[in-house]
């Protein structure tokens, strides 16, 4: 057995880096990051486009630049890192005993590490063709957008020449531009929903700039090609999202990129026994990003999929700070009063899912996503009896854009029963 760590961070992407730096800042000195890739930075390394860090650094950085800032910060600390290291299992310690982390690498072999706290920062993976059951043949040439991005930006290969993109998530949009710039013909971007899943700015600068059509309320209904993709059929869908016969368009192409959503990667979390949220596909967390297992925290895309890395960093710093506090003995009361956050009308999930009322400071960060596009709307926060606690206004809400509110700690402490967050749309624009 090796030395006892105070904190092991699983994953050296933006979440893990921010959590580790913050835990160091708060006084922990035996911190270890375990990263499965051969370098730190995670998915940011392949996101070579700019647009990262506007909130935190007031600059428009590329993904590698953003990662670089945190890697530099980390270099000024004594945080240890082990690269090319895959965590296979987390065994939670009983009754406050250290947690065990089983990991493996070519260099260090099979490692059983002990630690007082763990931060889960494994990120997410892309939904695949199987997850959405696209009909048709199974030729080569069907990639998730992120896999194609890695080939293109890091390995230096084009995955195809005539490309159709399914899904208008940001990675898909960004790849439409990248493939076009590198000489491919991107025929169209096809989106099942009546609205895009990506940021408006990406629709403008990645599709409109290059005259790439965006077909909303459309989907792929057939793929042809015994060996490589040869032809893709796209159909319009009705309000029930079922294809409408007679609306077929046929595209001759050799490549399909899928940008159809991300799923938090929680196999380790599940196997460790943490309570999961079916809606986020991540662990249920408290206000300080602690999971249902004391001393195991989670942050970033492993908890819920973010659209801005600045939010990931901020959330992860809270997790890192909370892990430090845990190690330093500030542990939540076993019988702390729990205030559930409930999803009201228009809200698909919230993070955190539960607030331990006595643990809250001045403000509680609450992140959530809405399940429909709205114009001007109010975010209503009500207690268990339906009394309004507070409200927030937004000019515009969309599922593709994560929302963030700050709830005053006092409000939470005084709330009777669970707190519900709901969307109340302005009727006829009469709202003030």
């Amino acid at each position: 057995m090796e030395k006892l760590y105070e904190l092991i961070v699983i994953g050296g992407g933006p979440a893990g880096l921010a959590a580790a730096c913050q835990a160091w800042e708060k006084g922990l000195r035996r911190i270890l990051i375990l990263e499965r890739d051969s370098e730190l930075g995670g998915i940011l390394n392949q996101c070579i486009h700019s647009g990262f860090g506007l909130q935190r650094f007031r600059e428009e950085l590329t993904g590698p630049e953003y990662a670089g800032r945190f890697i530099e910060m980390l270099a000024d600390t004594g945080v240890e890192t082990r690269l090319d290291t895959m965590v296979l299992q987390i065994v939670p310690g009983e009754q406050g005993a250290p947690h065990q982390v089983h990991a493996v690498s070519a260099k260090e072999g099979y490692q059983v590490l002990e630690t007082q706290a763990v931060v889960l920062a494994m990120g997410c993976r892309e939904r695949t063709r199987g997850a959405i059951s696209i009909p048709g043949e199974r030729p080569s040439g069907i990639f998730t957008a992120g896999a194609a991005q890695r080939y293109l930006n890091m390995e230096g290969y084009m995955v195809g020449r005539r490309v159709l993109i399914l899904g208008s998530g940001d990675i898909g949009l960004i790849m439409a531009r990248r493939m076009t710039l590198e000489g491919a013909k991107v025929l169209a971007c096809v989106e099942l929903m009546p609205y895009s899943g990506g940021l408006m700015r990406n629709i403008v600068q990645c599709l409109q700039d290059f005259d790439i059509p965006l077909y909303l309320s459309h989907t792929i209904t057939d793929i042809k090609g015994h060996d490589r993709v040869e032809q893709v059929t796209v159909s319009k869908v009705g309000p029930d999202r079922r294809p409408i016969p007679g609306t077929e368009m046929v595209f001759d192409c050799d490549t399909v990129l899928l940008s159809v959503g991300l799923i938090p990667e929680n196999e380790l979390t599940r196997a460790a026994g943490a309570d999961m949220d079916r809606r986020t596909n991540g662990a249920r967390v408290y206000e300080n990003m602690e999971t249902s297992i004391p001393g195991i925290f989670a942050c970033g895309n492993v908890v819920h999929v973010h659209d801005l890395v600045d939010y990931v960093s901020a959330e992860s710093e809270r997790a890192g700070a909370a892990a430090a506090a845990y190690v330093q003995g500030k542990r939540a009361e076993v019988n702390a009063r729990m205030v559930e956050l409930k999803n009201g009308d228009g809200v698909s999930y919230t993070v955190p899912q539960t607030i331990r009322a006595d643990e809250v400071g001045k403000m509680v960060d609450v992140f959530f996503r809405v399940n429909r596009v709205t114009g001007a709307a109010a975010i209503a926060v009500r207690d268990g009896e339906g009394n309004s606690l507070t409200g927030f206004r937004r000019a515009h809400l969309a599922p593709g854009e994560m929302e963030h509110i700050l709830l005053p700690g006092d409000l939470v402490r005084q709330a009777a029963g669970p707190i519900t967050i709901a969307i109340e749309e302005d009727k006829g624009g009469a709202a003030q």
């Binding site: 493996v104 695949t128 059951s133 030729p139 080939y151 290969y157 995955v159 209904t221 015994h226």
Partner: protein
């Protein structure tokens, strides 16, 4: 000149090759595709049937029960994942009850051991996931699940290790018989043999037609499947059938040896033997039928749909016979279900028929029946893992995160007796890319390892069969595949 040439290296051809490898014979296997087991063997229900379904007296009945009996020891010898899970056939109404009884009688006549009829309640006690609508069930304890691709690979690897030659990428394009010797034309030159086994799967009729007008015709029937994530893998512990009806043996729900859950297939006649597509309608049918048996099934956990082509011939039985005009030509055709279950017995029967036709079958003393598989890192305990990494650090580098497959396993698969040559070849040999991310993360890394180990550029590495290119060219230089 070869004593025997086997055309086709699916599970049937591979089993025949391994059977003949026991004898002092010069044997070659010619496979049209760039890898073995790339036809029906790679896309089927992965079930070892008990043998109550075929009509008593048919080849199917005899060879299925015999093949099933051999499967345990065979998979042990070849280190192939196989589980004797047992199976249940479900009835959903009083009208279907006689069907179960008929299967029971047939099975008993075929020599299937241990068959038992249960009430719906008893069936649910065995399998709590079953629907409340189930009124009765037939239990066949000898049914099981296997890795069909792994079985075929192990058979041919063991055959190759024992002296059989394998030529992949070697389709037979013409056949003639000259003075009792078959001359087979391929892109790799002419091969000559005294005996030929035609194990060309769905194309067996076309191969036979190279010699003479065949007396059977493949009527391809496609079946579509859902493969669900391991989170659904424990939904049932046995193979769950429905009463066979006009739509074939019906949709089944079964665990796989890798811990996933498989649901399917439907049955639809297709014109194009290479059309391995899926359709929304067929998958919808599979979904409804699977949910009828196991209502709790979460099909959102789907990680892959696929389809396979059954080599039906309309004869209702396997076509295992010598040509009348060319008695040294043996067809192993129409090997549809239960072909996988029957494979070892088909091989024995083929050897018997060859011997009858005049081939001398003398046992070879040095035959080694065992094939050690590449170590499966994910199945080892921490101590074994540590030991393996110490021996070869490449076993410490996990390439496929979902299935925990290491670089060591991938490298081993690239240098095995029948080495992988494509990304899917790696997937089938060591599971990399088989998991929930479907190769999204590990695909590029596997490709890099293939390129490195085989000394070829990345752009030359294929996904699967010829024509399945992955990368169009390098960026910046535009350098294409060779």
């Amino acid at each position: 000149m070869y004593d025997v040439i086997i055309i086709g290296c699916g599970v049937t051809g591979a089993a025949a090759a391994r059977r003949l490898a026991r004898c002092r014979l010069k044997v070659a296997v010619l496979e049209a595709q760039n890898d073995v087991a790339n036809g029906t063997t790679k896309a089927n229900s992965a079930i070892i049937h008990a043998g109550y379904d075929p009509e008593p007296g048919t080849l199917m009945a005899r060879l299925n029960v015999e093949g099933n009996r051999q499967m345990g020891p065979l998979c042990e010898e070849l280190d192939v994942p196989f589980k004797r899970t047992g199976s249940l056939v479900l009835a959903f109404s009083a009208e279907q009850q006689p069907k179960l009884e008929e299967l029971y009688r047939r099975g008993t006549a075929n020599g299937v051991p241990g068959l038992q009829l249960f009430s719906g309640e008893q069936a649910r006690q065995l399998e709590p996931g079953l629907s409340d609508e189930v009124t009765g069930a037939l239990l066949a304890p000898s049914a099981g699940i296997v890795d069909p691709w792994g079985l075929a690979l192990a058979l041919i690897e063991n055959a190759v290790t024992n002296g059989v030659e394998l030529h992949r990428g070697c389709p037979v394009t013409a056949v003639r018989e000259e003075k009792g010797v078959f001359v087979l034309t391929t892109p790799k030159g002419e091969f000559t043999a005294r005996y030929v086994i035609n194990a060309a799967g769905v194309d067996a009729d076309k191969v036979r037609a190279l010699l003479e007008t065949p007396d059977f015709e493949t009527k391809p029937s496609r079946g579509e499947y859902y493969l669900l994530d391991k989170t659904e893998g424990k939904r049932v512990s046995r193979v769950i059938f429905q009463c066979p009806g006009p739509e074939g043996k019906g949709v089944r729900v079964a665990p796989t040896v890798h811990g996933n859950l498989l649901a399917g297939p439907n049955a639809e006649p297709v014109e194009d033997r290479r059309d391995l597509g899926t359709t929304a309608d067929a998958l919808d049918f599979v979904r409804r039928r699977a949910m009828q048996s196991v209502p709790g099934l979460d099909l959102r956990q789907n990680i892959r749909n696929f389809s396979g082509i059954r080599a039906n011939t309309g004869r209702g039985d396997f076509v295992i016979e010598a040509s009348k005009a060319h008695p040294h030509w043996l067809d192993l055709a129409g090997i549809c279900s239960p072909g996988l279950s029957s494979a070892p017995a088909i091989a024995d029967y083929a050897a018997e028929l060859l011997e009858k036709a005049g081939l001398t079958m003398e046992e070879k003393p040095g035959f080694d029946p065992r094939r050690p598989a590449v170590p499966r890192f994910r199945e080892l305990d921490p101590e074994q893992r540590a030991g393996l990494i110490q021996k070869d650090p490449r076993f410490g580098r996990v390439i496929c995160r979902c299935e925990t497959v290491t670089e060591g396993e991938i490298v081993a698969a690239l240098h095995s007796p029948v080495p992988a040559c494509s990304i899917n070849g790696i997937k089938r040999r060591c599971n990399a890319g088989m998991g929930r991310c479907q190769g999204g993360f590990c695909g590029p890394r596997v490709q890099e390892i293939i390129a490195r180990e085989l000394g070829v550029p990345m752009t030359d590495v294929l996904m699967d069969q010829d024509g399945t290119w992955v990368l169009a060219c390098e960026t910046k230089t535009g350098k294409e595949a060779h």
